[in-house]
């Protein structure tokens, strides 16, 4: 139900007066919070224009710090989402297999990597395992660790999306495939997966937002991503707080942009495909938010 319209009546004169008072109080609350923030920042000298002007006047701030970080962040996220797609396809279809052993093994792997925090995997791979492997040059260890950890986690989430996407297709799709003489594998590959994947696209973009955010965990294993570069910038220009705030703004703008893209793709999908065959909750949109539960997951929802 649309909350605004139904939770309260069209206000009468008295309610309107009350709402005006509450609006003023609300505005005062906002102003009070803003005032406290500004005063604290000012007391600490964090609003001095010298700390902020480099972002506008000094191109080096961008070209030698923040854009390098942004590139590293995007690079890690793109690699891991591409690999997570492959991982998810493999294990998601594995969980749909008719061979109980395969189904069970894929289930254990997917549930395991969904339960283990990404940072635990990153620390272990980045500081423990990869430095001892000669094939990975020392300079690339943090990147490879970040990408592996993000791939394993996001891949497991994608695997659940694939499984739910195929499961939520109308039963007739699979039956039709079998009845025209396709094998089980062919039915999955030629009939079910193409439909499920198309509906998954918005959720996949939502998962990209999660990967972008989580790549900031690379900070802990010295991967030179946006947050790390923000810290370096803060030391170089002695403007730590402004640097972090600008980095936060960059993350927010990037993620809001991606979320809008996901919503646009979702709208386009539902327009083009209509509702028939819409893979259940997949069609409800990307709103990147919550991780799926262990039961049948509502896909299209990503985790904090």
């Amino acid at each position: 139900m649309s909350a605004q319209a139904v939770l309260f009546d069209a206000p009468g004169p008295r309610a309107r007066a009350r709402h005006r008072i509450l609006t003023v109080l609300g505005a005062l609350l906002v102003l009070a919070v803003a005032f406290v923030v500004v005063r604290k920042m000012n007391d600490a000298g964090q609003l001095d224009s010298a700390l902020w002007t480099p972002f506008l006047t000094d191109p080096a701030v961008w070209s030698e710090y923040l854009l390098l970080g942004l590139w590293a962040t995007v690079k890690a996220a793109v690699f891991s989402i591409a690999l997570a797609g492959a991982f998810g396809l493999l294990f998601g279809t594995g969980r749909l297999s008719h061979n109980a052993a395969v189904r069970w093994a894929c289930g254990v792997i997917v549930e395991f990597f969904r339960a283990v925090p990404v940072l635990i995997m990153m620390l272990f791979l980045g500081f423990g395992v990869y430095p001892t492997i000669d094939a990975i040059p020392d300079s690339q260890v943090p990147l490879v660790a970040v990408v592996t950890a993000l791939t394993l986690y996001n891949g497991s989430v994608v695997a659940e999306l694939v499984r739910a996407g195929v499961r939520n297709l109308p039963k007739g799709q699979g039956e039709a495939g079998l009845s025209i003489g396709l094998t089980r594998g062919q039915t999955l590959r030629l009939v079910q997966l193409p439909q499920a994947l198309r509906h998954m696209l918005p959720a996949l973009i939502g998962q990209f937002v999660v990967a972008l955010k989580d790549s900031a965990l690379g900070y802990a294993i010295l991967y030179q991503e946006l947050l790390t570069w923000g810290k370096t910038l803060g030391s170089a220009y002695s403007n730590t707080v402004p640097a972090y705030l600008v980095v936060a703004l960059m993350f927010i703008l990037l993620n809001v942009g991606l979320t809008h893209l996901a919503m646009a793709v979702d709208r386009r999908m539902s327009r083009r495909l209509g509702d028939q065959g819409a893979a259940g909750p997949l069609a409800t949109g990307p709103e990147p938010e919550l991780e799926v539960l262990h039961a049948a997951p509502p896909p299209g929802r990503t985790q904090p």
């Binding site: 139900m1 939770l7 309260f8 600490a44 339960a115 283990v116 635990i120 272990f124 802990a220 938010e289």
Partner: protein, 220 residues
């Protein structure tokens, strides 16, 4: 694998993880409920504030919030939450975990409000309840029951995200793992123990909340 258990205080680290989880769960539930109420309120300014909170916090990496809290707010702006160094770290980590997950709690509750049929709100209005009363007596009790599944997902995510406190020196499971890896190199035993610890923490939560969400779902 056994020597890891005897040499390091694994249990202590997970107790710390649990402390973070419980305190931040309470904190995020309180803040999240407030934000959710703001987002469905008839006051435009509050609605805007709620939306702003959710959009900003949800799209910022938790790692950034953590680092900003200690390096920025505590050391530079001077907002110490305790004289003691470790207590200060602990409290800031709890605050940031609460602030971050509150955005997801608010979204979960809003989706819970959306499960309440229109007729319920209309009935509440038609018997003369004000917005506050209908929210308190009719809408929110049903919304919480409808939001149990996403709230459970948020709790699981919160349990896992307590590890991010490691980047500011929290002494929970991830902090312990980084110490072990520093001392012992690539110890698969240590990784498995810590990873299994999280499986043990999150798997029952998932099952319990799935069960609860079915049991407590409002029959319609």
């Amino acid at each position: 694998m056994i020597d890891i258990l005897t040499e390091y205080n694994v249990l202590g680290a997970f107790v710390e993880t649990l402390k973070y989880t419980v305190l931040a769960a309470i904190g995020s539930l309180v803040i999240g409920t407030l934000v959710a109420v703001m987002r469905v309120s008839p006051i435009g300014v509050l609605r805007g504030l709620g939306t702003f909170y959710v959009t900003t916090i949800r799209n910022t990496p938790l790692t950034l919030l953590m680092v900003l809290s200690i390096l920025g707010l505590a050391f530079i702006v001077g907002l110490q939450l305790s004289e003691d160094f470790n207590a200060n770290t602990f409290r800031w980590a709890v605050v940031m975990l609460s602030v971050y997950h509150a955005a997801f709690v608010a979204e979960a509750l809003r989706s819970g409000v959306n499960t309440v049929p229109t007729g319920q709100a209309e009935a509440a209005r038609s018997i003369g309840l004000t917005f506050g009363q209908s929210l308190r007596e009719v809408i929110l009790p049903q919304a919480f029951r409808g939001a149990i599944a996403p709230l459970g997902s948020t709790l699981i995510a919160l349990t896992k995200n307590t590890t991010v406190a490691q980047v500011i020196g929290g002494s929970e499971a991830a902090g312990l793992l980084s110490t072990i890896v520093e001392n012992e190199g690539s110890s698969y035993g240590a990784f498995l123990i810590i990873a299994l610890g999280f499986v043990i923490l999150t798997l029952p939560t998932g099952i319990a909340f799935t069960h609860l969400s079915e049991r407590l779902a409002v029959r319609r």
